[in-house]
Amino acid sequence: MNNDFLDQIFVGAKQWLLSLRPLARAPDLVIQIASSLINIFALLGVFLTLFALISVLERKILGRMQNRYGPNRVGPFGLFQPVADGIKMLIKEDIVPARADKIVHFLAPILIAATAILALGVIPYGRNMTPFAIDGGILFFFAVGSTTELAVFMAGWGSNNKFSMLGAMRAIAQMISYELPLIITTLPVVMVVGSLSPDAIVAGQNGYTFGAVPHWFVATPWGAAAFILFFVSGLVESNRTPFDVPEGESEIVAGHMTEYSGFKYATFFMAEYFGMFAISGLAVTLFLGGWHAPIGGLQFIPSYIWFFAKLSALLFVYIWVRGTLPRTRVDQIMNFAWKFMLPMAFTCVVAAAVWHYQGRGLAGWLWSLAIIIVVYIVLSRMLDTRKKFATRIYRFAE
């Protein structure tokens, strides 16, 4: 009973707010709108806080990985850095290029932030805690996500700048390419669960073998492969290193964000992080069991804490990858998408089907593992360019 109370504390709080005196006797329409508004404000509040936290933590973690301190001047451990950054962004001059397409230039950051926030709405953050629970939640996520490409294009075109346009072209090219593996790797999960609703997918990963091994999809071979593919595609979709060629600052200044300054730039920055949260949240929902506890005995800890713990772990990996890998080339990204990611994503679908029709037991587990390993080896043999790498010979320098 006590656990239930903690688990449902936010749901209960919302119910209490809606049952307050002025609202209780209001017509249904008003209650519906109030309920949506509460959801929206809670969502924005949580994720803006997380955004502020992550922006400083990312710099701290990167600093630690590169043997330096990172921000440590503002407040204890530099924790007030985002506040200072926010104030700086707000009072900066907003510069719009004279030859820019003013309306499109102005609308692009709004659209990109709106789509990122909308995508966050369909993810179940805890038991009974989906802000916008619809039947086709996964489809909604991708439909909204595909609109981002248009916003990026608007930013690039509206700026009337060669760097911006180049950056936008790169962004759209890689987003379209990686949308395919991203969607196809969600397909096996949707097939196995038999539903497009995120809540049903989380419910489908309930239960434990021997009370310890959770029934998350990442624990199956096809699930693990799909999770890795999904995560890499997510890196590309949110334009993070090593796939951040759209804003490759050594080549094209900042890509589609070159001509944005002040608060509009901050909006882009926020949208990028929100996109990262959304993709990671969906990865947690699809493969890491959503808000379920990893071990049967740990179910007394509230569901939303588990969700955000998994989300934070994934975000840490994002930062880790950024601190480790150099930026890839555009052609490398494209080749990787079409020649490796896409066939592997289809293999995951086949392996999941085999797993399902073998009765979801050990035999199916081994069969799907075998399929994935064989395809992986064959693919990597076929894609091997057989380039010999030798020590570099310097002709004009010692």
Binding site: D135, G136, F140
Partner: protein, 162 residues
């Protein structure tokens, strides 16, 4: 509630469609067209056809609008040519409008609301995989053929250059 929403969405969609037809810059027209498509998706949501609305956004805004914008970008620079009044276009538009009006007027509209069950995504999936599995496979075949065709077109261009 739904009447008010209907009126607002209608105004937005019609305004966007008008803008798409009349704005001088092609990119603006294409972006307004995308807004009009979102408006159509909103109509589907209003009618409770969630799946169709989502697919509308997914396919038309996510793919078709991006394709249109890209095509405009790759084919022409914005040369501000003064638009000549195109009489052939007017005739074609009136003919299409007349045909549509004729078709709509000829169709007997049942006023009484039909008793239909709620169209869930699950139900659509079930029907697609049972009753309509052959049409689905045929569409898949056509799309695959189109994909391979597009690839071959691109490859031939590459060969002739080298």
């Amino acid at each position: 509630m739904s009447t008010a929403a209907f009126i607002i969405i209608t105004i937005l969609t019609l305004a966007a469609a008008l803008a798409a037809a009349s704005l001088p810059k092609l990119i603006h027209a294409a972006l307004s067209f995308a807004v009009a498509l979102v408006g159509v998706a909103a109509f589907f949501f209003l009618l409770g056809a969630e799946f169709v609305g989502l697919v509308q956004v997914f396919v038309y805004v996510g793919a078709v609008a991006v394709l249109i914008v890209f095509t405009i970008l790759l084919t022409r620079r914005d040369a501000a040519t003064p638009d000549k009044f195109n009489w052939a276009g007017v005739v074609a538009a009136i003919a299409v409008f007349g045909g549509l009006v004729w078709a709509i007027l000829k169709t007997p509209l049942t006023v009484a609301a039909l008793q239909i069950e709620a169209l869930t995504v699950k139900r659509i999936g079930e029907v697609l995989m049972t009753n309509y599995v052959w049409p689905l496979q045929c569409v898949g075949l056509v799309l695959t053929a189109a994909l391979i065709g597009a690839l071959i077109l691109v490859m031939e261009e590459k060969n002739s250059k080298s």
